[in-house]
Symmetry: D2
Subunit: 99 residues, 4 copies
């Protein structure tokens, strides 16, 4: 399993606020069936690489469906195949070691 | 105020695990006096651009102090000057609109 | 048409050098039939979003086939649908305006 | 020496074109005295970590000086301290090995 952090930003929308686009993307994500978590700087999603890239496609297309002319998407994928990785696991592990 | 997402990865360490480096960076962050939150794919920090870049420098140097020979750092900065932005604010706002 | 910048880094390989992995990825890219350009910090590829994500998958898998246990991939996609965009076009346009 | 890839995007400008901002940033870069290269997806700059973060600050501020209200900046830094790294070196090395 891998984790993906994705941020999809419409450019040239005429307003610095992009909350409406993010709300729509979260609705879309809720239907995908993969564990995910909204963070302040993106959304983290858990899945295998095929699942993650399929979700990336859907999220990237979303602002175009809402009228955007240009979309800038940044994706980070951390894919570890020597052991299972799940959402919140890295955070919990580091927090334990900090105590 | 701006938000920064930063991920600092040592390359060529001989082990796919980098938890020890992340723990050390979190200790370092705790001393900086800026609001921050560890996520699965990085750390999000709140501050003005000078504060954020100073912290980025400290975090980026950290693995070298622990013996790493090469460090790969990815930074995303979302800087909005038409209104105040704080950690957890975007997440809370989107969650409210989703209800 | 969109442009994608992709950087695929194996973690925990035991050596700070990753040139062998990059050479293999360039060989793989040459077979994909899309325009691309190697830069110092990644590879830029031109295509539509489906083509780009298919190539991203292939490049991301490549280090695993060479024995890597963990791969960290960073992707930036700039997708503009109000006009055609091609490799080298933005660079040429800016250079012209700078003269 | 390290290499930095930086992309600075103004959000909410009302136009999907951001060429004017990029031209201004290239003018600014030309005055900094560091080796750099404009690519289709960003600008790659060579320097030590302090020089690179100082340039990142200047580039990030540039769209605000031109009236932008929100700026989204993505930075990748590849910092190798076991040997010298220079602009175009990685590209040349990979191209040689591909022949």
């Amino acid at each position: 399993m891998a984790l993906m952090d994705i941020n999809v930003a419409p450019l040239g929308t005429g307003s610095p606020s992009v909350g409406g686009f993010i709300v729509e993307m979260q609705r879309l994500l809720a239907k995908q069936g993969l564990p995910y978590e909204l963070t302040d700087m993106g959304t983290t999603i858990e899945g295998d690489i095929d699942q993650l890239l399929a979700v990336a496609k859907a999220l990237h297309e979303s602002p175009f469906l809402m009228g955007a002319k240009r979309v800038y998407t940044v994706i980070k994928i951390d894919d570890r195949r020597d052991k299972e990785t799940h959402l919140r696991q890295k955070v919990e592990s580091v927090k334990e070691r900090l105590q």
